[in-house]
């Protein structure tokens, strides 16, 4: 399906059998198999990473405890949402899997924030768990160049570091549970909550990554030995209920969209008939639930533990403790078309099961509900993501990448987005090509990774649109225009078909905008043409059709009726017409943000040397600033400026130091513009960005990076 050039194999290595699933531990130590990229973990990050590496042309091995759990949705039966839907569109724009698979597995599609503006539309769907898993496994097991194998990973094979780069060693492969080894060009760790995962139900706790699955303990030791800074986070999942024991009669119903909006730019429509979609139902907790929880806090280890949970409320317990005496929403979500399981979103609990059952029965509609599985809490290790570069490679161990929940994030979409970026970069690393990073000005995934690698996190990091500075420009509708071209040209991870489709759409948009701008009439003429669109008299005449399209009552259809030639054909292409309307509405804001986006890009182009010892350098920096710089290890001046407490003076002094001290070995070179497309470009020919001069610093005296512990 994504077949491209032959497998770029490293020399002197036995050829794996691409596309063929290996079983068990056939490989002996003598002839350890070798892959260009090895991915550990078959969750949402792992599958995307493996598929992206394979799409990029790397012979890839995916290692998982159980092939049967690939594509498992461990928590909620839904994908997308506000901010998360944006990430899925970006994953899709890079030819990732989850968007397309959700278009084939959903049972209830709904665009959230419909009336709040297209920049914050949240594409979301309830997914049939079984179907998604089935579709994902079909996809993964049939991806060319991708091999899947069941095995546990106990250790990493390490060798001398590549000179000229930071890192105290280099990963060369993995050691499996049976003692055999697999050699690798790059390794991606996507072990989710499985690193020393511990499950909590009431006072009971037992080691597991997910109920019924073993945690990864050997790997945790290895990472610790290597000096990685590790933190601990907690999360939880609600109990599951039997659908046929719930009385939906008095509950508020939320119907799905008709027609449903697909996630993928490639999908014309979703698989399910609109009328066959299932509904969700809303109920609310009352004071009885609060009483049960309050009276039994002593039976709740997870809540009492001091491990940092999020500031937001992941569990019903924390909701009633922090916002007492009010109702809390519980959404009853279907788990699949034929499933009898209901997922009560908003009811994550860690009370002992019998008490959970009492809480459930205290809620309207659930009085007779049968609990199929209790809710539980999970505590797990995560790696301080400040130890990673923006390509998600670790600074400590060369060619070792991390993606997903292991980096401190929460959510399938956050995991998938990191997976794609890690997969692409692991592949590019093996091919000796420059890393592929997404700027904060280009995508939500850029914001996600920049936040993680610059600021780290103290709670499970979740994507919100409020984290994104350029929200007006980074919209779900234009993710393809932002990322597909780069993905094709720089990362090689995008299929020809998708690329051509994106090129066509971009050209059509640019033509459409130009056409609309070229049609200009006086205000009185417009009033005659479009009596239903009141155009402000204070505008300067003449007014272009593009400006008219900004008005809330205007759309392409109305315009085409008034001016059939040449607008008729633009309005006929429904998707184009909708996108033109959105482009018109946001033009003003996006154009106004150009300046600021340029500034961010400029700062992102100013690279800092990886080997700076911030405590030792002779620059006028306060001890506090030095500490912050050492802890966060910013890669660029742009990242420095986002670390709280860093003053403009400190930034200037740091620049001075770096510049004067690396003068001799420094080459000034023009960094290629990271974004071939950036939003707003199509509005103004003059807005072409200048080539940024950046200092690339010699790494002649590469030292080991200090690990912040």
């Amino acid at each position: 399906m994504f077949l491209r050039g032959g497998c770029r194999r490293l020399p002197l290595l036995p050829a794996p059998r691409p596309g063929h699933r290996r079983a068990g531990s056939e490989a002996g130590a003598a002839a350890a198999p070798r892959y260009e990229v090895v991915v550990i973990g078959g969750g949402h990050a792992g599958t995307e990473a493996a598929a992206a590496a394979a799409r990029g042309g790397a012979c890839t091995l995916l290692l998982t405890h159980r092939i049967g759990t690939i594509g498992e949705m461990s928590c909620n039966p839904s994908f997308g949402g506000i901010g998360k839907g944006h990430l899925m569109r970006e994953v899709d724009a890079l030819d990732g899997l989850c968007g397309r698979l959700c278009d084939r597995s959903g049972v209830h599609y709904k665009v959230l924030n419909r009336c709040k503006g297209p920049a914050v539309w949240g594409l979301r769907a309830q997914i049939d768990r079984g179907l998604y898993k089935e579709n994902m496994q079909k996809e993964i097991l049939n991806t060319p160049l991708l091999t899947v194998r069941e095995a546990s990973v106990e250790d990493l094979l390490l060798k001398e570091p590549e000179p000229g780069r930071p890192g105290k060693c280099q990963v060369a492969g993995v050691v499996l549970g049976d003692g055999s080894t697999v050699r690798a060009g790059s390794v991606i760790l996507t072990t989710g909550t499985f690193l020393r995962g511990m499950i909590y139900i009431g006072l009971e706790m037992h080691p597991a990554g997910r109920l019924g699955d073993q945690p990864a303990i050997g790997l945790a030791h290895t990472l610790e030995k290597l000096g990685f800074a590790v933190g601990r986070l907690k999360t939880g999942t609600p109990p599951r209920l039997a659908k046929d024991t719930i009385d939906f009669g008095g509950l508020e119903e939320r119907a799905a969209d008709n027609p449903p909006v697909p996630f993928s730019f490639l999908s014309e429509a979703v698989w399910i008939k609109p009328e066959d979609q299932l509904s969700c139902y809303l109920t609310r907790t009352n004071l009885k639930a609060q009483q049960i929880i309050r009276n039994n806090l002593h039976l709740n280890n997870h809540i009492r533990e001091t491990t940092r949970g999020p500031r937001y409320c992941p569990s019903l317990e924390s909701k009633v403790l922090r916002f007492p005496d009010r109702e809390h929403q519980v959404w009853l979500e279907p788990e699949g078309l034929d499933s009898n399981i209901i997922y009560p979103q908003g009811m994550s609990m860690t009370l002992p099961p019998e008490l959970q059952e009492q809480v459930v029965k205290s809620i309207p509609g659930l009085e007779k509900a049968k609990m199929l599985q209790p809710g539980y809490g999970v505590q797990y290790d995560f790696l301080d993501p400040r130890q990673l570069t923006t390509s998600l490679e670790s600074r400590l161990v060369q060619r070792l990448f991390f993606a997903g929940q292991i980096n401190g994030t929460t959510g399938y979409e956050e995991a998938a987005a990191q997976g794609v970026i890690a997969g692409i970069n692991a592949c590019l690393r093996v091919q000796g090509r420059p890393p592929f990073t997404v700027s904060r000005t280009e995508g939500y995934v850029g914001v996600l990774i920049d936040d993680l690698t610059t600021l780290g996190t103290t709670e499970p990091y979740r994507m919100f649109t409020s984290r994104v500075e350029f929200r007006m420009a980074l919209r779900p509708d234009n993710a393809d225009a932002r990322l597909t071209h780069r993905g094709f040209e720089e990362a090689g991870c995008v299929s020809q078909q998708r690329y051509e489709q994106a090129v066509k759409m971009r050209a059509a948009l640019e033509d459409g905008i130009a056409t609309l701008k070229s049609i200009q009439f006086s205000i009185s003429k417009w009033s005659q043409l479009l009596p239903g669109v009141p155009i402000s008299n204070s505008r300067r005449s003449p007014v272009s059709a593009f400006e008219v399209l900004q008005y809330q009552d205007a759309n392409m259809e109305i315009l085409a009726k008034a001016i059939p030639e040449p607008l008729g054909k633009l309005a006929q292409w429904r998707e184009l017409a909708e996108r033109l309307k959105i482009e018109a509405a946001y033009e003003w804001c996006v154009v106004n943000q150009q300046q600021e986006m340029e500034e961010v890009r400029r700062d992102e182009a100013l690279q800092l040397p990886d080997d700076l010892d911030y405590f030792a350098i002779d620059a006028s920096l306060s001890a506090e600033v030095r500490e912050k710089l050492a802890a966060n290890r910013p890669q660029t001046i742009g990242a420095v400026s986002r670390i709280p407490g860093i003053t403009p003076a400190a930034i200037v002094n740091l620049l001075r130091f770096v510049k004067t001290n690396h003068q001799k070995t420094e080459k000034l070179k023009a960094v290629p513009q990271s974004g071939k497309y950036f939003p707003g470009k199509m509005y103004s020919d003059k807005a072409t960005s200048q080539r940024q001069i950046s200092a690339e610093f010699s790494e002649e005296e590469a030292r080991f990076v200090k690990t912040p512990l």
Partner: protein
């Protein structure tokens, strides 16, 4: 500035058909307004044009104002009224005018450095003007009104120099001061202003705005799945409206800047024949007013413009205040009283030989002139040459007073110093040294903040909430340039503190 009235407001019209609830924004912005919104300049080019006072803050002989960016040539044209910039890197003497009023601000030297051979690597311009606060403030404000120009942020010149590979120049010792002036001094100055009432006011606005933004963001990010009620929007709208009113009021109250631009109106008042016209002539160093030994010589109001210690002064000589029988003189006295009521500063002239130098006597004599309440007064005890014998010191209490002889010129220095002090107090906080520098930045950012809040109000609650939130973000960013940056995490802190959200 884009006033909300400029913005076309399509009313509630027919709803779009189909299932699309979203109907696009309810407001439009004229293209010409857009350049003012982010303080950003002409579209395209390498960025907007920044300017700042580059010489050390404080009164000095010559002040250097520097600009960098694509608008540098344009600003030289606008301010000097010449068709093109002078030859590169050559000092040229030019009359510098306010492009809006065509009023001459100063005669000074201008230099044109076309990029890339300039400090920042961009087109640069320098204006070397006389170092009085009025001149510098006038030029800075004129620059700020040019489209595409904005005051530089701390360290911005240096950042630009770095971006263009020019930073090695800063290794040269002399430029270190410049960086300090751009960063530390501005920061210290901003801090000084941030302490005290003004600082508390800005902080309060900052908190209110951040909270409003956080609540709106919560409504966008969480309302569909969580308990973020609709009332949140109404509360945000109320907060923003109140904030907008306050900021607009504050901007209108910029009396100090106005005094500096328009000049302080000082009125010479006093009984007849105490030497008021002589004082005017002495101060303007020419016989502008007719003086004679007869009381009641001056009938009309005579006005001259003066520069005292760098501050602009509009000095009026008025008729001696007495009950006059002559109808022309009576009209003169009426005009004198009228002028006195409008005064920013009163120079009360008394005959030193006819009033005893005690606070009580001086106070009584001043009160007899009925100066407008609250207006600062300076007592000038003229005819000191006639006192004979040892000079009694002027009392320390009561209004500031000084002895003067218009005849011999004795005491003029002391009077000028006293006047300069009074003017400094009127025109700006003397402690902050250079009020216009930060104030012009502040008022610009506050103006942009208010404009964004105004657009937010126009959006109402029916349009595109993301666009509305963008206006609050813009307003927050502008205010943040004064009070400090507020990041996404701070917004999230408020969201999670105020709402029960998450799953």
């Amino acid at each position: 500035m884009a006033e909300p009235g400029d913005l076309g407001l399509p009313g509630e019209g027919v709803r779009g058909e189909g299932s699309h609830l979203w109907r696009g924004p309810t407001w439009q912005v004229p293209p010409e307004a857009s350049t003012h919104l982010c303080g950003c300049g002409t579209a395209g080019g390498t960025g907007d044009t920044i300017f700042a006072l580059s010489s050390a803050p404080g009164r000095c002989g010559v002040a250097v104002i520097r600009a960098s960016g694509p608008g540098s040539a344009g600003l030289l044209r606008s301010l000097t009224g010449t068709p093109g910039p002078p030859p590169p890197r050559v000092l040229a003497l030019r009359r510098i005018r306010d492009p809006r009023s065509a009023e001459t601000l100063d005669r000074g030297l201008v230099v044109w450095f076309p990029g890339p051979n300039s400090f920042t690597g961009e087109d640069c311009a320098e204006l070397h003007v006389h170092g009085g606060p009025a001149v510098v403030s006038g030029v800075l404000q004129a620059l700020g009104r040019l489209p595409g120009l904005r005051p530089a942020e701390p360290g911005e010149f240096t950042r630009r120099a770095f971006a263009h590979g020019k930073l090695d120049l800063t290794a040269a010792e002399g430029l270190r001061d410049l960086i300090a002036a751009e960063t530390e001094a501005q920061r210290r100055q901003a801090l000084r202003q941030m302490e005290g009432d003004l600082g508390r006011l800005y902080q309060r606005w900052s908190h209110a705005l951040t909270q409003a933004l956080a609540h709106l963001e919560a409504y966008i990010d969480f309302s569909e799945d969580d308990n973020v009620e609709e009332e949140v929007l109404a509360r945000v709208a109320v907060t923003v409206r109140a904030l907008l009113q306050e900021i607009r009021g504050h901007l209108r109250d910029g009396r100090r800047g106005e005094l500096l631009r328009g000049g302080v109106r000082a009125v010479i008042a006093g009984p007849p024949n105490v030497g008021k016209s002589s004082l005017l002539n002495l101060l303007c160093r020419r016989p502008a007013a007719i003086v004679s030994p007869s009381a009641g010589t001056t009938r009309d109001v005579l006005e001259v413009a003066l520069d005292i210690g760098g501050y602009p002064l509009l000095l009026s000589d008025t008729a001696g205040l007495r009950r006059a029988a002559d109808p022309v003189e009576r009209e003169g006295v009426r005009r004198a009283r009228e002028r006195l009521c409008q005064a920013d500063l009163v120079l009360a002239v008394l005959d030193a030989t006819s009033v005893s130098p005690t606070p009580a006597a001086l106070g009584a004599a001043l009160a007899a002139l009925e100066p407008p309440p609250g207006t600062p007064c300076v007592l000038v005890l003229n005819k000191a040459d006639l006192l004979g014998g040892p000079r009694g010191a002027t009392p320390a209490q009561g209004p500031p007073a000084t002895l003067l002889s218009c005849k011999t010129g004795e005491g003029l220095e002391a009077l000028l110093e006293l006047l300069a002090q009074q003017l400094a107090q009127l025109c700006g906080d003397p402690l902050s040294g250079w009020p216009s520098l930060t104030q012009s930045r502040h008022s610009r950012h506050l103006g942009a903040c208010a404009a964004a809040l105004g657009r937010f109000g126009d959006l109402g609650d029916s349009g595109d909430l993301a666009l509305a939130a963008e206006q609050l973000r813009l307003a927050r960013r502008e205010l943040g340039r004064i009070t400090g940056h507020v990041g996404a995490e701070d917004v999230l802190d408020i969201i999670f503190r105020d709402f029960c959200v998450g799953k």
